[in-house]
Symmetry: C2
Subunit: 240 residues, 2 copies
Amino acid sequence: MNQPGLPTAHVAGRDSGRASRAREVADSLTRAIHEHRLGPGMKLSEDEVGEIFGVSRTIVRAALQQLAHDQLVTIEPHRGAFVAQPSVREAREVFEARALLEPRTARSAALRATPEDIAILRRHIAQEHAALHAGQDGAALRLSGLFHIEIARIADQATIAEFIGQLVSRSSLVIALYWRRRNALCESHAHDALLKALADRDGALAEELMKGHLLDLLSSLDLREAPGQRRSLKEALGGP
Amino acid sequence: MNQPGLPTAHVAGRDSGRASRAREVADSLTRAIHEHRLGPGMKLSEDEVGEIFGVSRTIVRAALQQLAHDQLVTIEPHRGAFVAQPSVREAREVFEARALLEPRTARSAALRATPEDIAILRRHIAQEHAALHAGQDGAALRLSGLFHIEIARIADQATIAEFIGQLVSRSSLVIALYWRRRNALCESHAHDALLKALADRDGALAEELMKGHLLDLLSSLDLREAPGQRRSLKEALGGP
DNA sequence: GGTGCGCAGATTGTATACGATCCTGTGTCC
DNA sequence: GGACACAGGATCGTATACAATCTGCGCACC
């Protein structure tokens, strides 16, 4: 009998009395998607996920519905849940939405950032570099996303920050599907420049840098029509 | 331009059978909140809601979690679900987010609107006026929100449209809590002007009108600190 | 008379059971 | 030999059952 899989309550350490374990499962799955350990199109069977986390299907369903709302998974009725495969169109939309939200948010962040905020961002970048050097590509990608989310948090706009969080998550899937170039270095440098602008309280520059950064990101994708159908030939034929 | 399949008709609520009943219940509740038949702070007991809709608590829970994700209800662990009561701060954030998203979206919509789109919008306004004259204030408010959502749909940006949909929903709660003036007429006129700009394909004007419209809306609210605590003195003491 | 405690009812959190639907593999018929 | 039909298994959708927790009220005690 294998001990590590034992689904008892105090496996998770401390039950902080917070929200149900559904949130916990959802966070784990989200993180796995961010780190590209779960790739687009992978099936998330309720039984399987439930057994892994030691919870019942009730919890898993709640978690999956939550991820479905964030559009990280798609739930096909009577078929199951799959990690989402954003179409080329969705990919464009995600980055257009980011281009609409993030530059202004970066400007606000520059005007409000405290020294502690700057320190936090600096630590993020350091972790990102470390992960990159350790060859942990997925972790680096997730940290890179967290950098953007942290900026939204600094801007002190919880509502917009939540939207940006969703968009960053979906960007991770987009990158998994459509990434072309291998040089993630430019991104790190972009983050360095952004950090400097924020530290200097230069809102206009931060806005401009963020805009350019997002455009760079977008241009590093291969968003032609064909590759979107890599695994979705069913829906390619099913549609009109 | 005329697609035979007509996939993007404004079908709302006729979706029985396809998706799970949870979506149905969630839509009903959402509509009730939009029409101010459910006010901020009202408790949504799982048993009660389930009995009303003739479904089990399983379905109700799924629906409530969905609304919680849209921040239309807040779920307090072991206490239940309540219609959300946006704080003054949240109210401001909602309108700041709208100010960031909707003007640009209106501009895009103006550039893309087809004659059918204009006709749909015209019908929306007519319905809104009719509801207003019939004294159905709640229905008029909901239609007013649908007008904004329809514009986002016309702009052909599903991702942004979904965000705007969430924000419009939350705005309904904000209005329920903080509405000051009684004259909803200005809003209708604003919509008329917007419609004209869209029909004229005047993107710049549409953007400007939308910006002004949102500012008008915001200025018609009473967002001083006091009224936020109307029912939330518990959380006033709970927080710093 | 006011305050604190404890029990009962109600409500939510989670698990499990059962029916419905879909996918897959096999057998038969043309 | 190929295509259709059907059965088996697996998975999902929903309902119900049980356990944990909270709220309200009454009673004892100070």
